[in-house]
């Protein structure tokens, strides 16, 4: 039983062709897979583009700032630097995104300034010597020829004494040749560096500052204060720090969500359950942008891979491209059944018969419904964005994120929800100085707001504001400031009565405008916030399955193993081991030996006498003689 450690695979000699062929002959579950996958690739490519754009936009500002800082801190002739220019990059707790961030930063620094850029991580810097070796290696991009360090004879032996491997004069030499403006050294995970190393590094850089133009970038996951606390006062005096805040991952996720899921121009979406799951996982566990993207991608992959009717999502799919199986699959969708029942309730039995019998007719209906379904979903996203925008510009508390509003809308929870009513109420109460910016921000949204006739409202509002002679802004009749409470005492009883203050002409006109706008909004929201799961073909337009997603991203290996051992029947499904006592499987001789041992182990206390264990095992497993055989 010799097992080689590593090898290149070579197939065994024996040919197993016939058995293979047999399988392809019967029903192929993956027919038209290629079409589906190509559709997937097309749709995902669009999404990926959006993601890339969002990501680049997200930290482009910070990057620009840092690049400017680097180029500004390059030493000027005849003005010796007294301290090391240091950028404190507060990159937040999502350490997984630090690596990509510093890589992107390095690219832009190298491109835009004439500097050398080196990233050092704590893992490769256990001590100052190794750190310096790595630093020198990266800066001078010298490939190490030999393993035996320290005794490497260098070319500089002619000029003087041999220079050791970790001597910064290597860099000096290189700097003489290349004349870069600065050498940027980034410590990616400063928290993980040994404090001693950090201090020594700062001291050393300071010593060399008259010869080498160092710029230090420190990645900080916690706070600048805690970084400062770690250094001694002396080292801090050597540093000339400036703080940069990187966009935090939750903000980026929010942006990504609005770009990919709540976008108004997406043919396929993930459903509310899945997106809630993704967002919760982000919030509670990982805080990693790429994990979110991976999750989204996997959802798309599973959708197109496993669901046959997704072949219909292909753009301009022709009838002849589709097999009858595709239509059979559509007829088996739950939403198809719902739809058919609906039709039957409307006494459209003829249509139903046609749907069931004619593929051609079904094809027409499906293409229509896909389009209308996509439109409905787009409108829903549109409305969700609009609602978020209104809440934001009216500065309503609590501030609710688009992702939250969208998931609720997609789950069909928003029509008539308190959230919606509350928002509409505040629109009603808004004064003109609040409504104007609202209109402005609505205009900025690149979504379709045409159903609201918002331009007309805006013009009217502008006119009203112009005509307004009063000092204050225009108020609507629902504004609380137009109410006054009057107390009257009649027969020793206090009566409270609300009174509307008399409205001026302009206020009246404004009130009617607000009322019309509000009605428009209400109508729009009512029509937009449908429950998407009631749509015909909602299974195709929305992927909302939890099953492969959770297992694939949040595995429970321990649970799987314990389950396999505690109740092997769950996996093996054999006749002999099924538990008969209401699921609590009893120990039986037929179970795999390891499972028996494991269950015995579970039943015992903290200490186990091997002899007892063995005899118990022997009692169950029968004629087996020794526990060593169970492995």
């Amino acid at each position: 039983m010799e097992h080689e450690r590593c090898y290149i695979y070579t197939p065994p000699e024996a040919e197993e062709r016939p058995s293979k062929r047999q399988r392809t002959s019967d029903f192929n579950p993956q027919s038209q897979l290629a079409e589906r996958l190509s559709t997937y690739r097309k749709i995902w490519a669009q999404q990926e583009q959006r993601i890339q754009a969002t990501l680049e936009e997200a930290d482009s500002k910070t990057q620009e700032k840092i690049v400017n800082f680097v180029s500004a801190s390059a030493p000027v002739e005849n003005a010796p630097q007294t301290s090391i220019p240091t950028g404190l990059v507060v990159a937040g707790p999502s350490i997984a995104s630090h690596g990509p961030f510093f890589a992107r930063l390095g690219r832009s620094i190298r491109d835009e300034t004439n500097s050398a850029y080196v990233v050092l991580t704590s893992a490769e810097s256990p001590n100052l010597k190794t750190l310096l070796k790595n630093l020198i290696k990266r800066v001078t991009s010298r490939i190490e020829e030999d393993d035996d360090d320290d005794i490497r004879p260098t070319a500089s032996s002619r000029h003087g004494p041999k220079v050791l491997d970790f001597d910064l004069s290597h860099v000096q030499e290189w700097q003489k040749k290349n004349r870069t403006r600065s050498i940027v050294v980034a410590l990616q995970d400063s928290e993980a560096f040994d404090t001693r190393i950090l201090i020594e590094l700062v001291d050393l850089f300071h010593c060399w500052l008259d010869r080498l133009p160092f710029v230090l970038l420190v990645g900080i996951a916690t706070s600048t204060e805690s970084f400062e606390d770690r250094l001694s006062g002396k080292s801090i005096r050597y540093l000339d720090g400036q703080k940069f805040d990187v966009t935090q991952s939750d903000v980026i996720i929010e942006k990504l969500f609005s770009a990919t899921v709540a976008n108004t121009d997406v043919p396929v979406r993930i459903g509310p359950d899945l997106s809630r799951r993704l967002l919760d996982r982000q919030k509670d566990h990982v805080q990693n942008v790429h994990d979110f993207i991976d999750g989204l991608k996997y959802a798309y992959m599973s959708h197109f891979y496993a669901s046959y009717p997704t072949v219909l999502l292909k753009e301009k799919v022709a009838f002849k491209d589709l097999s009858s199986e595709a239509f059979e699959a559509v007829r088996n969708l739950p939403s198809f059944k719902r739809w058919v029942e609906e039709l039957l309730d409307n006494n459209q039995a003829h249509d139903v018969r046609k749907l069931l019998e004619s593929d051609q007719y079904l094809y027409q209906q499906v293409t229509e419904h896909i389009e209308s379904g996509q439109n409905a979903l787009n409108t829903l996203s549109n409305a969700a964005t609009l609602l978020t925008c209104i809440r934001e510009s009216l500065q309503m508390a609590p501030s609710i994120r688009l992702s939250n509003i969208w998931t609720r809308a997609a789950a069909g929870e928003l029509s008539g929800a308190p959230l919606l009513r509350e928002t509409l109420l505040s629109v009603k109460k808004a004064s003109s100085d609040k409504l104007a910016p609202l209109f402005a921000s609505l205009k900025e949204l690149d979504i379709d707001t045409s159903p609201l006739d918002q331009d007309i409202f805006q013009k009217e509002l502008e006119k009203l504001v112009e005509d307004n002679v009063g000092s204050g802004p225009l108020r609507s009749q629902d504004d609380v400031r137009n109410d006054s409470l009057r107390t009257t005492v009649i027969a020793q009883k206090v009566l409270l009565s609300k009174h509307k203050a008399a409205l001026s002409e302009q206020d009246k006109a404004y009130s009617s405008l607000v009322a019309r706008f509000n009605d428009g909004l209400e109508r729009y929201f009512a029509s937009a916030f449908i429950d998407p799961r009631t749509l015909f073909l909602s299974e195709i337009l929305m992927y909302d399955l939890k099953s492969p997603h959770t297992e694939v991203f949040q595995p429970k290996p321990r649970f799987a193993m314990e389950r396999a051992l505690a109740s092997p029947h769950d996996y093996l499904g054999c006749d002999c081991c099924s538990g008969k006592q209401g699921g609590e499987s009893i120990l039986s001789t037929t179970q795999p030996a390891t499972a028996i041992l494991y269950q015995l182990y579970l039943e015992s206390g903290t200490l186990i006498n091997v002899s007892d264990l063995w005899s118990a095992f022997n009692a169950i497993a029968g004629d087996d003689e020794d526990e060593s055989k169970t492995m």
């Binding site: 290149i8 997984a96 996997y298 015995l600 206390g605």
Partner: protein, 577 residues
């Protein structure tokens, strides 16, 4: 884990396990004893005892009555006769009340103790053990009494008809039912505890008592028995395991798709996953060879297979193999793993291969790949778009090996791939058992293995091995003799002797010099160089081991037990080889 275990611990009242059965049986026996005592009691004592309860109708009396009915010998004519003799009032004043009161106070006491114990924790549980047993017995008596009072005989549980059950968890076997059951049974009050208290309650120490039984030395398996048993052992679940494999093989296309999309795959679950990776590799190979750069040409796709469980797997081996798969052999590779990795990654960036290079890594969580730089470098490798990593993980807690950063780099999709296949390559059973028993040395397949090697060696080598074995045996016999002088000639003396040999293990084996001289005497070899070459052959096959004793002299020995050595010596002298 601890919690699961604890839960089980609580459950075991209703688990029908042999262990528990035994204890329960013991309890029942005690109870029976009790009953017997109870029924004997009246005979010994005055008849009034018997009568009084019937009149008083205390719970106790009902219990007794019930017990008698159950026993089938209740209401004997004897008892009625005795009723005539004594008056009930007198009986009440009799000793029964005292006994009952004593019982009651004991009950109260034990109740108090239970409460105390739950309040203070049960640190001195062991000290109180006996009393506790008594208290419990009394309590259970009371409980039974209450039971009987309420509903008389509890209905016998009707056993469910054994029905065939499908794969997966049966419905209604969730926690609800269990907890309900437990609630009925649990003797101590763990309810309504705040969560943190509950945690400590469930994880409290105690109950760490084991019996003093020991395994007898005679029942140990030796190699020959082990191998012969293993060969005759037939897996009962072979078809089911085949079926599991076939189930997993249906996912091959899906896995390939996932790899194409830039994810890496990690398989976990109980059982060796080598059969799966093997099948998947074959599938991938077939798929690749039917594709563009290979179709119609003689070129073959290169799939790197790494067995992480193989002892001594180093990162460098892995990287060199990968390098050989993706670049021409003429390129000189750097020596250091980190440099080599960077070199490979740069090369792949510059010369993008036609398809990502598949790497099949068995047991990514093996101890050899767990050391600190390995995971980091593997993650960097896996993060490269031109690398597809499919790995398996055997330990149940493997995700703890990687932090968020590494996980993001690995980009794993996890799949449950339970196979129930034996870990015969991943775990060396013989070796681990030997380690457990404090024996050293790797065996090459027991006596047969040695025989096989010897057959392929020249005559001289066989002669040398024979000398070594006989010398070693002679030494063992001498030890035995020494032991016999000390110990009286009991049947146990063999055990004593073996214990002694293991104690003087440092003196085990033949001195190098002695062996050399013997070998020269028997004309096995003429020079030390020749002697060494012969030994080297043995060393290579792990048939002998050398050790320095306390004096610093080198000793050689064959790492087998006495019986096996005897067998070997027989084989060697009897020309069986």
């Amino acid at each position: 884990m601890a919690s699961v275990k604890r839960k089980r611990h609580h459950d075991d009242a209703e688990d029908a396990t042999p262990r528990k059965l035994r204890t329960r049986a013991a309890q029942e026996e005690e109870e029976n004893d009790d009953d017997e005592e109870g029924s004997e009691e009246p005979d010994v004592q005055t008849p009034s005892r018997r009568q009084a309860p019937a009149v008083n109708a205390t719970p106790r009396s009902i219990l007794k009555k019930g017990g008698l009915f159950n026993g089938g010998n209740g209401a004997t004519p004897k008892s009625t006769r005795k009723l005539v003799f004594e008056t009930p009032s007198k009986a009440a004043k009799d000793g029964t009340t005292i006994v009952r009161n004593a019982d009651r106070s004991a009950r109260r006491k034990s109740n108090r103790r239970f409460i105390e114990r739950t309040l203070n924790g049960d640190s001195d549980e062991e000290a109180l053990d006996e009393e506790e047993a008594l208290a419990e017995q009394i309590l259970s008596d009371q409980e039974e009494a209450a039971d009987d009072q309420e509903g008389g005989q509890p209905e016998a549980a009707v056993p469910d008809t054994p029905s065939k059950r499908g794969r997966g968890r049966p419905k209604g076997s969730g926690t609800g039912k269990k907890s309900k059951l437990r609630k009925e049974r649990s003797p101590t009050p763990p309810q309504h505890l705040p969560p943190h208290e509950e945690y400590f309650y469930q994880n409290r120490p105690g109950g760490a008592k084991t019996s003093n039984n020991t395994l007898s030395a005679q029942s140990l398996l030796n190699h020959d028995e082990y191998f012969s048993t293993m060969q005759t052992y037939a897996e009962r679940h072979e078809p089911e395991m085949e079926f599991l494999l076939e189930l997993h093989s249906r996912a091959h296309d899906q896995w390939i798709f996932e790899l194409e999309e830039g994810f890496n795959i990690c398989l976990y679950g109980y059982g060796s996953k080598r059969p799966i990776t093997e099948a998947f590799t074959a599938h991938l190979y077939k798929q690749l060879i039917g594709q563009e750069p290979y179709k119609g040409t003689k070129k073959t796709p290169r799939i790197v297979v790494i067995n992480g469980y193989a002892p001594g797997t180093t990162l460098k081996d892995i990287l060199v193999t990968i390098a050989s798969a993706c670049m021409p052999s003429s390129i000189k590779l750097p020596n250091q793993p980190t440099a080599l990795l960077n070199f490979i990654l740069d090369y792949l960036f510059d010369h993008e291969p036609a398809h990502p290079i598949p790497i099949i890594l068995n047991s990514i969580d093996s101890p050899y790949l767990r050391k600190s730089p390995a995971a980091m470098l593997l993650a960097a490798l896996a993060a490269h778009p031109s690398i597809n990593l499919v790995c398996t993980a055997d330990t149940p807690t493997f995700p703890l090996l990687w932090d968020v950063g590494l996980k993001a780099q690995y980009k794993f999709l996890f799949h449950d791939a339970t196979t129930f296949a034996p870990y015969d390559a991943e775990i060396d059973v013989v070796e681990s058992v030997n380690e457990l028993l404090g024996r050293s040395g790797r065996r090459i397949g027991g006596r047969d293995g040695v025989g096989f090697v010897l057959r392929s060696l020249p005559e001289n080598a066989r002669a040398l091995f024979r000398i070594l074995v006989t010398e070693q045996l002679a030494l063992l016999y001498m030890d035995d003799a020494g032991g016999e002088v000390d110990a009286p000639a009991t049947p146990k003396n063999k055990k004593v002797a073996t214990a002694k040999t293991s104690a003087s293990e440092s003196n085990q084996g033949v001195e190098y010099r002695t062996l050399y001289h013997k070998a020269v005497e028997e004309f096995v070899c003429s020079s030390e160089v020749g002697f060494r070459t012969l030994l080297k052959e043995f060393h290579d096959h792990q048939m002998i081991e050398s050790r320095k004793d306390a004096m610093g002299t080198e000793r050689l020995f064959v790492p087998f037990r006495q019986e096996e050595l005897e067998g070997l010596a027989e084989d060697l002298s009897g020309d069986a080889l």
